[in-house]
């Protein structure tokens, strides 16, 4: 089970990273086409009009996928920020209970968002909605990664909640970046 879950978070994070890589690739390819066009205009006086159709739409969809598929990975890497001023003052036992409570609340919210995002995807599918740009894609298809990402986040929160209730430290504890040299 542990291995499956770890693989799930990693896979989801890796796909998110691939989405960012794709954003860079698509946008840079369009810039190169613009450059070719510019050169054509300078030499022949006429632009060719090289475009990747709907590249701005694709970029937006990839960004949404990257953001939401990355949620669980970022959580476990200590990437999401929180205020620990108050809880830092508590002793170990009350702190554990507060941590469990916070995880439960977070799980509730993430689960709620997952369900409704899922319903939104289902609705887009039911009505056969298409994206409105040059290239028409089924809307549910580009919305789906957002629902999946929220779902994986919910699983990760449940995973950590169980860990904390069992008395273990949550996955994100002590992680996160510190670029200051102490």
């Amino acid at each position: 089970m542990r291995q499956i879950l770890t693989a799930l978070y990693k896979l989801s994070g890796a796909v998110a990273a691939l989405c960012i890589l794709s954003i860079a690739a698509v946008v840079f390819a369009q810039v190169c086409l613009n450059l070719v066009d510019k050169l054509a205009k300078l030499t022949t006086g006429q632009a060719i009009g090289l475009t990747i159709p709907s590249y701005a739409d694709f970029t937006g969809f990839l960004l949404a996928a990257a953001t939401f598929l990355g949620l669980a990975y970022a959580l476990r890497a200590g990437g999401h920020i929180r205020v620990t001023l108050v809880t830092g003052l508590l002793g170990p036992t009350p702190r554990r209970w507060v941590e469990a409570l916070v995880l439960a609340v977070a799980l509730g919210m993430a689960g709620y968002a997952t369900v409704y995002m899922g319903l939104l995807v289902a609705e887009s599918h039911e009505y056969g909605d298409m994206t409105s740009g040059m290239v028409a894609l089924p809307l549910w298809l580009v919305q789906l990664p957002v629902a999946i990402g929220l779902g994986v986040l919910s699983i990760a929160l449940l995973d950590d909640l169980i860990a904390v209730l069992r008395g273990a430290a949550p996955s994100y504890e002590g992680k996160g970046e510190n670029l200051l040299s102490e």
Binding site: V31, Y73, A74, T87, L120
Partner: protein
């Protein structure tokens, strides 16, 4: 339920969520949920899903992960260290020394990035380790970054000026031009403050007292060339007409990869670590933006910001008192909402009263942007504070305290543009 009661409940709830250690994005989401549930009968879950989707797929926001990734690549190469080594001998005489790199770095980066969070994340990633390693005081490193990164909003291109321009039907081109001089004014104020602080606190700054002969200085300055080439390439791609400001971020990534490869620091490990790091940072920021956008929509449904603005309108204030009241209004709203949201939610109400007393809407756009810049560094909801917290692991109040002098400097800048409106208007009028 009255608006006052609801506001108090939401206020308490936000502090309870944040104080208990609930993640910032979810805290904002939770307050939005409470506002919707208590104050409207619109279907909460559906509105949430629609908002998350509608704001999550955004072309304008796509520059964020790319710029953050560019920062990660440079961070993992020798280039950022080179930059500071190259600059160091030149900044020795200037009181405040390398702290100014934060200000100028953000100022230059602001010319390609339209967002202040991307500016803070990218420049911070490069400068915090270098300055900290050299022994610069943490408070000044964080403060200069938090303050200067807000320039991303004022110096064109700027997402918020576009939002304002579209909502009020002002020329975006003119707004961009109008932002230039106030942007330089803010840079000057920041530099002046750091210089004065540097003179008063010589003992707190690291001794980089070695004096180099000019030839050695120039030799070291050669190490600046790659980074300067990168900056020139990114800005150049926009002005050559081959890239929109969002496109330019991809040019930045590719140039950073090329430089890092040329310097021998690019390998599979540094590449994948950089990409994953960028993914995590951009995910963190975009998730908070998603929470903030839902809270904004909830506020739209409850109508609280609009009612407050209408109340200010009902006071029939004269020009200067109106501006003072609006400043207070924006600062208070900006503590809890993302700055852009405040503009979106209230322009319908505020623009008519502003125009009634004869305030130039173009000038007012710059005024609004400076106030929104201030909101980026006021707790509990301030995006630059969040970014710096995530880069340094310091708590939000420590970061906010470090940023306070810069908040006050922006207030001073506001006073200057109110006293001398030409600072804003003379360039666009010359167009």
């Amino acid at each position: 339920m009255t608006v006052a009661t609801l506001s108090i409940i939401l206020f308490v709830l936000l502090f309870a969520f944040l104080g208990s250690g609930l993640w910032v994005a979810l805290s904002l989401l939770g307050v939005g949920m409470a506002a919707m549930a208590l104050f409207t009968d619109a279907p909460l879950g559906l509105v949430m899903a629609t908002t998350i989707w509608g704001n999550g797929n955004s072309w304008a926001l796509a520059a964020l992960p790319l710029f953050v990734w560019m920062g990660e690549i440079l961070f993992r190469s020798r280039l950022s260290e080179d930059m500071f080594t190259g600059l160091s001998p030149w900044m020795n005489r200037l009181p405040g020394r390398l702290l100014h790199v934060n200000i100028f770095g953000c100022g230059i980066f602001a010319a390609v990035s339209g967002s202040s969070a991307a500016t803070a994340a990218t420049i911070g990633k490069l400068s915090i380790p270098e300055l900290s390693k050299r022994g610069y005081p943490e408070k000044m490193v964080i403060g200069t970054l938090a303050g200067s990164a807000t320039l991303g909003l004022l110096i064109p291109p700027s997402i918020i000026l576009i939002v304002y321009g579209v909502a009020t039907e002002q020329s975006i081109a003119r707004l961009f031009v109008a932002g230039i001089v106030p942007g330089i004014l803010l840079v000057t104020l920041f530099v002046g403050y750091v210089a004065i602080w540097g003179m008063l606190n010589r003992d707190l700054l690291p001794d980089e007292g070695e004096r180099f002969p000019l030839r050695e200085k120039l030799r070291r300055a050669r190490r600046l060339l790659p980074v300067m080439g990168l900056i020139a390439g990114v800005i150049g791609s926009i002005y050559a007409g081959i890239a929109s400001p969002t496109d330019a971020a991809a040019v930045g990534v590719v140039l950073a990869l090329v430089l890092s490869w040329a310097s021998g620091s690019l390998n599979w490990q540094s590449f994948s670590e950089g990409l994953m790091g960028a993914m995590v940072t951009s995910c963190m920021i975009a998730f908070i933006l998603a929470g903030a956008s839902f809270l904004t929509v909830a506020m739209g449904f409850t109508g609280i910001p609009r009612l407050l603005a209408e109340w200010i309108g009902s006071l029939q204030l004269s020009t200067y008192t109106l501006l003072a009241a609006l400043t207070v209004f924006f600062v208070i709203m900006g503590c809890f909402l993302d700055g852009i949201s405040v503009v979106v939610l209230t322009t319908s109400v505020i623009m008519p009263m502003v125009q009634k007393v004869g305030i130039d809407p173009l000038w007012f756009g710059i005024f609004v942007v400076i106030v929104v810049e201030m909101s980026q560094i006021t707790p509990p909801v301030g995006f630059n504070l969040f970014v710096l917290q995530s880069l340094t692991g310091r708590n939000i109040l420590t970061v906010a305290r470090a940023a306070l002098p810069f908040f006050l400097l922006m207030l001073l800048a506001l006073a200057i543009i109110v006293a001398v409106p030409q600072v804003v208007t003379f360039l666009p009028e010359a167009m």
